[in-house]
Symmetry: C2
Subunit: 369 residues, 2 copies
């Protein structure tokens, strides 16, 4: 939403209720590889205060993700939110290693920035292939907004040290930035309020019956423990899983099989959003499972969850058939190598998710008036 | 040497020769896990300008290494050299993982900060065991000097960006800080002048015939490809080996088998050093192969080398029997996974090394007068 108008709305609310209430909105940093509905939900919502975006390579290279985030903030007119560019490369994994891995162990369905073509015909579009340092020219032109001078991991460390135990990080891409931050500053994770991340996969099953759902099931039917974010930077996922977050919530791919982005949902959101946001979301490709939107919605209201579990989680960093796979254990079975207990969201209320998405867009529009 | 006196000496030299000559001393940052002869050689020498020290966990935890470096700079009276504390933990490897590894694949000779006791009786002393965050009280008291506010990886990035293609990094501990810097800033390595690192092992053979040499041969006789720095953080060693340094020099353990720190050498150095440095080095334990001193001497004068090779080098990051082992290939045989060509020092002139060490101490004393 337009920030200065939100400020006015918040001030008005402060007069109506208590000033403290308005100040207590949870502070959020979104760490992700682009700018999409998940960002809009958190930025447009009245319930949280997004205090920064960080980019990382994953679906696209970090420089492209940064450009998308800057553009996104122009669309929502939240130019005061800083965007810090994150890691261009995963810690250890590389495009060349992934080529070799596929030659040994079989093809990956999705490889993000390393994707040249789908293995078999797919209704989803094929993204353009770029090099890590190729210049970025977004359709419609780049934003005038500039990224922060800070590197994402340093931005995360500074923000968390300035606001100890107050910042919720919502991470929906590979976990490279968070792993770097933790190795740069061993107290980093302990000073965060909560990490909610989309990553990993336990045992998803196809719920919806349509072409997109059939096709996305390719990602897990023969590899239920593989998920893109973790597979792109397995070492980072393991480092993050072993860091001492006061609260750690994992959104694996499991709950997303029942939540698909449809033209109907986009229309519902566009109807209530600001004209700029409506235009932006009306151009979005549909058919995707709403992986990241579940993470954002969980942060706004954890009662979204209909089935959950507390498990010890880690990621396989062995460069074998299971590289990047999710490892999980019930309490008492974990190896004790530092892996932390995570709250794992196994299923959600998809109707509620949709309602929350529409509500967030409406809140952004109300505040903008 | 005392810095302000060195400044006077340099100014005097500038009058005698050209000002430019004095300004062109190569800029050095030393990345290491303590403060020892290697630091003294570079700091006391007239030939180079040490512009920073960074610490890292390895032989000791990073906080102890930092304290040792601050104390060292008080001894040499170089209080203007900044000390930036580096990574407390390796990227992926951990003490707990190393315990499991030893239970699977056999005992390591040396584990640095994770060392509780020697496996069998050894003439070298057993270091005290500490936790990563235990407070540090050095014998004789800690330095009054304070460490920099910057994290080592950030200090390295800033210095290299402020002095592009001018800084030589001499790294003699695990390569965690350099790996972090490269992942934070993908241009970092390309902006360095040269990296000279002590790490890795190709095929060392015992050269000297005494108890210490016999005992240190345990480190390589049955594991010629294993070396402590690389084994402590194998992922960092691999990241660094794949980074685009304009020039990369590897000092493996091989050339150190012919170069042992003896009481005679210490006496020669103490005789010509400043009283403070003489007292410091006179307390040093002898019997060690001079791993790091070779790296420092190579930076001062590469003609130290008597046998070298240009090889592609990487490190094994598979958590199996060869975890952390050195991988090397002649040109044309490398896999092409990003591994870089390194100049590998295979043998050195040990007498020349000793003479250079004595010379550096004398230079520091001359400048201090």
């Amino acid at each position: 939403m337009r920030s200065w108008r939100r400020l006015l709305a918040v001030l008005a609310l402060a007069f109506m209720a208590t000033g403290a209430q308005a100040q207590e909105r949870p502070k959020i940093i979104i760490d992700d590889e682009g700018f999409a509905l998940m960002h809009l939900m958190l930025i447009e919502s009245d319930k949280v205060d997004v205090v920064g975006l960080t980019s990382v390579s994953g679906n696209v290279w970090a420089n492209r993700a940064t450009a998308m985030q800057l553009k996104g903030l122009e669309i929502t007119q939240d130019e005061e939110i800083p965007v810090a560019e994150g890691a261009t490369f995963p810690l250890v994994n590389t495009e060349a290693m992934t080529d070799r891995w596929e030659a040994l162990y079989g093809k990956l369905t999705w490889k993000g920035a390393w994707m040249k073509e789908w293995v078999e015909p797919t209704v989803q579009s094929t993204p353009a292939y770029y090099g890590p340092h190729d210049p970025v020219e977004l359709p419609g032109g780049n934003a005038k907004l500039k990224k922060s001078d800070e590197i994402a991991a340093n931005f995360l460390i500074r923000m968390v040290r300035e606001n100890p135990h107050q910042i919720t990080i919502v991470a929906c891409g590979p976990l490279t930035n968070l792993a770097l931050a933790q190795r740069l500053d061993p107290e980093f994770a302990s000073l965060v309020k909560e990490l909610v991340y989309m990553g990993g996969s336990l045992n998803p099953r196809q719920v919806l019956d349509n072409v997109s759902a059939d096709e996305f099931a390719r990602e897990f039917v023969n590899s239920p423990r593989r998920e893109f974010n973790a597979r792109f930077d397995p070492e980072a996922a393991s480092i993050v899983s072993r860091a001492p977050w006061p609260k750690l919530v994992m959104i694996p791919s499991d709950p997303s099989t029942g939540a698909q982005l449809t033209p109907e949902l986009i229309a519902r959101m566009a109807k209530v959003a600001t004209p700029e946001v409506a235009e932006f979301i009306s151009g979005m490709e549909t058919g995707f499972p709403m992986w990241d939107e579940i993470a954002a919605a969980y942060v706004l209201d954890p009662s979204l969850e209909t089935e959950g579990d507390d498990l010890y989680v880690d990621y396989n960093t062995q460069f074998g058939p299971g590289y990047g796979d999710t490892l999980s254990w019930r309490e008492h079975y974990q190896p004790g190598l530092g892996e932390q207990k995570a709250h794992v969201v196994r299923a959600i209320d998809a109707q509620k998710l949709e309602a929350m998405m529409v509500e967030a867009m409406a809140e952004g529009n109300t505040a903008a008036r």
